[in-house]
Symmetry: C2
Subunit: 206 residues, 2 copies
């Protein structure tokens, strides 16, 4: 995994999350498909909100296309493995970050971009750590995703810095603290971005 | 233009629309960018609504990626020509078709797909007719779009037939009649999918 990702993230994902992920690979893959779809939708939302920002439009459109390509790749994996793609309740993660968006600043653009950077960086870390633990086919797929998610992380962070009126270090730190809590606090439902799996039994399989 | 497009559409676009389009190329290009973005969003909406339908998911994701690529191409054209991309009120067209969606049938899927076929076929007709009237660079771009929009038309129509419980000829005919009215009735605002431009002066420039 790239040093920049490790440096940026406020903490590593607890080992317990990976153990539960490997025990619930079907659930992980289904939620992974949802995450790719949501990532594309988030990028498109920014395209609707900021029509005047050509660089943002071009980067977000490109990013949405990549997320959609990954979505198709995950759906193919689901199909090949006979896993039925179905709706899942989202984890607390994205909502837990987004509730802190300050809409008074450029219509929430900077915070949304910082959150985008965290989501991509965390995804990158989990793909990179999972890859060597998986069967060769899935391992290769997740290994390839590490590269693009890492690029997306950099693009979000760069756009946040370019579009901000001042220094955003404090805002990055603030969202880092929120993200750390979401990753280390217990979550009853296991998801791609969920926190520490609760020990209370099969609730994470819901 | 392909015979299938001409056969499918209930009428040709009136010559007057093309005259006004050439007089308002900036407006046409801005609305074209919006249309590509909206086409991607429509495809993504279907991906959210029908997670159980793998073929639909894969086709819609592929289609959204193509529309986003076209969006980037139009935004580049706008930038090269010094045209500021801005918000525009939508034409009556899509809303005029969508208000007739019967949501009791597969959650509106079949009607949405038929409307998708009409939107793509009408776009294809207008791109094909505009292409030879434009400067070489734009002419080539619009000429290339004819091919993909024609493919999208076929994909929408094919998905509508595959997913329908019975024959959809009557439903296609119904939406054809609605589409014909939207194309031949007067529209005060000029847009990529607007009807007959009104003769009342500069309102179409709004």
């Amino acid at each position: 995994m790239q040093d920049e990702i490790v440096d940026f993230l406020p903490c590593l994902t607890p080992d317990r999350w990976y153990e539960v992920a490997l025990e619930n690979l079907d659930l992980l893959l289904i939620d992974h498909a949802n995450c790719e779809k949501k990532a594309a939708a988030t990028a498109m939302n920014l395209m609707y909100r900021h029509v005047e920002n050509t660089e943002l439009l071009m980067t977000m459109s490109y990013l949405a296309r990549e997320e959609l390509l990954h979505f198709q790749q995950v759906v193919t994996v689901l199909k090949d493995r006979g896993i039925t793609y179905r709706r899942l309740s989202p984890s607390r993660y994205a909502g837990g970050l987004r509730q802190h968006i300050d809409n008074s600043d450029s219509n929430g653009l900077i915070d949304t971009l910082i959150i985008g950077a965290y989501v991509e960086a965390r995804s990158c870390e989990r793909f990179a750590t999972l890859a060597p633990l998986l069967d060769p086919k899935l391992s290769k797929f997740y290994g390839n995703l590490v590269k693009s998610e890492s690029r997306h992380f950099e693009e979000y962070l760069s756009l946040a810095r370019i579009n901000a009126r001042g220094d955003i270090a404090q805002r990055i730190e603030f969202f880092g603290a929120v993200e750390k809590d979401l990753v280390l606090e217990q979550d009853s439902d296991f998801r791609f971005h969920s926190g520490l799996p609760s020990e209370s039994g099969p609730a994470h399989l819901a």
